[in-house]
Symmetry: C2
Subunit: 215 residues, 2 copies
Amino acid sequence: MMTQTTDRPRLRAPSKRSLATKTRILDSAERLFAARGFDGASIRDIAKDARVQGALVAHHGGSKEELFYKVVARRAEELAALRIAALNAALAQGTPSLRDVLRSFVQPLFDKVQGGDAAWAAYGRLIAFVSADERWRDLARDCFDPTARVFIATIGGMIPKARPEAVAARFVFMVSASLSIITSTWRVQTLSQEGATYDLVEDLLNFATAGFEAL
Amino acid sequence: MMTQTTDRPRLRAPSKRSLATKTRILDSAERLFAARGFDGASIRDIAKDARVQGALVAHHGGSKEELFYKVVARRAEELAALRIAALNAALAQGTPSLRDVLRSFVQPLFDKVQGGDAAWAAYGRLIAFVSADERWRDLARDCFDPTARVFIATIGGMIPKARPEAVAARFVFMVSASLSIITSTWRVQTLSQEGATYDLVEDLLNFATAGFEAL
DNA sequence: CCTTATATTTAACGGTCGTTCAATTTAATT
DNA sequence: AATTAAATTGAACGACCGTTAAATATAAGG
């Protein structure tokens, strides 16, 4: 269901225009999937948003499910690289604090999301969808689990007496809480009436660090 | 969009059969909305599941959006009552610990969800949808915010030096993490390879209590 | 420049969608 | 038992869905 039945080898390099079109399609799909969910976004709307005929979306993206896979996978590698790089930077200068390790995981995404890049903001919402819906189990395993395992192992190594399952559980708690900053800012704002803007990411790190240190 | 343009007064009491049919429709809608999301579940599938004609779903539920509202609102009052009762029970016997207060919020839902009641398990997933999607902002405000405000105020009173926004933010973090137990058990299991079953709710309370106490 | 693989368009297929409306059946009220 | 409001059915509406096939335009490779 993911790959074509026959993987004919490419005989010609794709043109610049073709690559640009494919990027435009993936960008539109990313935005609309993030805004309306997988079922709420239609291929036709994505095509219109990308100023392209519907059949071309199928040509570049395959089936709707394959298109979703491609959209999620596209930025996953970059995100994973940023997180691993941040972790290695923290590990490079002596023994980092637990908070530094957690920040290495959380900060790269929010740097992108809050950096004014609308595409990354949409991508953050996509991660939330993938993490919450068992329908995307394989996608989550392929795109996000490898990095998660590295961090869980690192954290576990810093808290030797903690049970591995407990570390994994709390890691999922932290990920879920961090994604709530993306999906539920409106709820936070509603529940804390008024209030100057204030750094939810720093607060999450305080919250999660204390939660892990209690192990 | 929510109520009929003319609310004619009822001239006759609904029959037992009619009430049973309406319940069956709401049950089917609850199950299918929870399993496939708002856009993924169709009125036709809901009607078939309830062994009823499609037009009858509209008769009892109104538009699809109104039906979703009714499904979510149906159990919201009972859940709110259970939570407030648990909080009052904790407050009644002296000064409760922060953990007891958090448990008063978290435990009632999981008692229902893990108590073998499939309908409540579905309802738990619905809460996760409502909490994560700004589309249901009004619904969340009507059904869940009043209870949340009570708990936030109570927690804030126990941590006088904490900024109100910080308490609200951490409360949302905790809610999001608790819902991840419902929506993402599969991820926890994947990330903590193998492993005997183990009490995620207790672990969440440990995690969240430490997170709040760090304020 | 020619050939032709690839990109793109155009048009349509078979389904499913939410919703509506006019019968028809059920049962609460008098 | 008669009246008729309310529940339920059956059928259809127009719109949109994902996908596909064939025709045409573009441009890479020789």
